[in-house]
Amino acid sequence: MTPEGLLLAALPEHLLLLGILAILVTDLVSSRPRDAFLPALLTLLAAGIAAVWLHGTGHSGTPFPGHFSVDTDAFAAKALLFGLAVPVLFLARDERHESRFAMLLLASLYGAGLLLSADSLLMVFFGLELLSLPLYALVVLGFRRPESAEAALKYLVLGGVGTAVLLMGLSLTLGATGGLTAADFRTALGGEDLLSRGAVVLVVTAFMLKAAIVPFHAWAPDAYEGASVPATAYMATVVKGAVLLALVRLFGEAGAGTDLLAVVVALALLSIVWGNLAAMRQEGFRRLIAYSSIAHAGYLFLALLGPAEARFETVAFYVIVYGLTNLLALACLPRGEDWLRDRLNNLKGLYHRDPRAAILIAVAMLSLAGIPPFPGFVAKFLVFRTVMESGLVAVAVAGLVASYLGIYLYLRVIRYMFMTPAEAHPRTGPTAGFGTAAALITLAAVLLVGVFPGVVLGWL
């Protein structure tokens, strides 16, 4: 690989690294805590544009053979994740975080970058850890509330267990196939012997835990509620997207064996039902988003069962739509003291206080519920068409019926906003400043995807 080839292939990651260093240095040098919003934003935009540019030129290569390679799909995935991270930054800017939030965010994104172009299980492990570790800090960083530490702890311990399970899976793969490359994992996928079956299941279970699939989802609701709004936004959209896209890359052309298929289908459907039903009773908005994201993780895992060539396109499109709508909803939450702004009953009668925000949240809710004409429907259609294409018609129908359970919880939010009178004295003001900016960016993106899904699909 020529030096500039090396530079070019991993350009997004290099830019991120540059950003982190810049913030670190400026933070050390200056006396009073400087706000790191601008440099972080520039880094993100640079990395994102680089990824899009490289995707456009169809550049591909393997700067570190066997461990790190890039192709158009990888660049598309990175571009989409960095794009989703931009509104998160805007949300963070509203909260009075110092530069640490930005730095941790960029570090985590760097991990995601590695994960998405990983060729060897080593790199997968390394990327996954680099993605998660900053997150534990992000969850605590949010604001002065004891629960946030509790949330971070739960996330950390279960994350740790997940890492251990992943590693055990890797070692079993090593044992079964004698190597730790992604190709070895795919051979293990096909393998029938004890070691390879164990290896595959452990690795997939680790990913399930990171994506919060039932029964490994326990950390998610508490972590989402404990974290600050931008942190939750980041966890629900970018992290979940990265995990699923990594799994798609890891599976590559190979399909899940019959046993693994049964596990994935069962747990995915259970997650959809569990997430949708549990969300019905939530009083906190972020906790509702947590359970809804568990359900959406179920859809994503179902998409994983599709034919190999359609998998990436389906998961990527779904992550874009799902990510954008979540960000839109979280961006429009009324501003105020962090714990209070999250309560559902201060959303009551929101239409009369802040009509724009109410309509945007309603749009987000309906898109998450998969009701046309919003993009969520196209995404849901794509997922179930992919599942049916791989012959699992019954699974698709079961998934659709399970998704029906997920309509009421979103309607409930709309009902609070439009149909019930406001509470006595809401101490929350309408969204302003950067929050609105984030809302508008995501709204524009949602409308683009909604009206021209064909274009986005074509680009992927």
Partner: protein, 100 residues
């Protein structure tokens, strides 16, 4: 070959013991230690496979595991400190504010 299987069994045992420890023990720090125990179980099995199949990738992974384990603990301990400063006890049972 039997001793390889024996060692593998031991590593599996370590791994399982670690997880059970996390479930049972009432002290946060001890739970973290059990997490480490699980990783040790993994390290052992990695060592066995590397030796057995002569795949050096396993060795590289072992070092990575050390690095990551250390990083994990580096983040875990301050969080526990933050928690204890507010809750004054190491028993995870009392930190159950977020539920439902």
């Amino acid at each position: 070959m039997t001793d390889a299987n024996l060692l593998l069994a031991v590593s599996g045992m370590l791994f399982a013991l670690g997880l059970v420890g996390v479930v049972v023990r009432r002290n946060l720090l001890v739970m973290l230690m059990f997490l480490e125990l699980m990783l040790n179980g993994v390290l052992l099995s990695l060592a066995v496979f590397t030796q057995l199949l002569g795949a050096e990738a396993g060795a590289v992974l072992m070092f990575l595991v050390f690095v990551v384990a250390a990083a994990e603990i580096a983040i875990a301990v301050p969080i526990v400190l933050l928690l204890v400063r507010a809750g004054h006890t190491l028993d995870p049972g009392s930190y159950a504010g977020l539920k439902g």
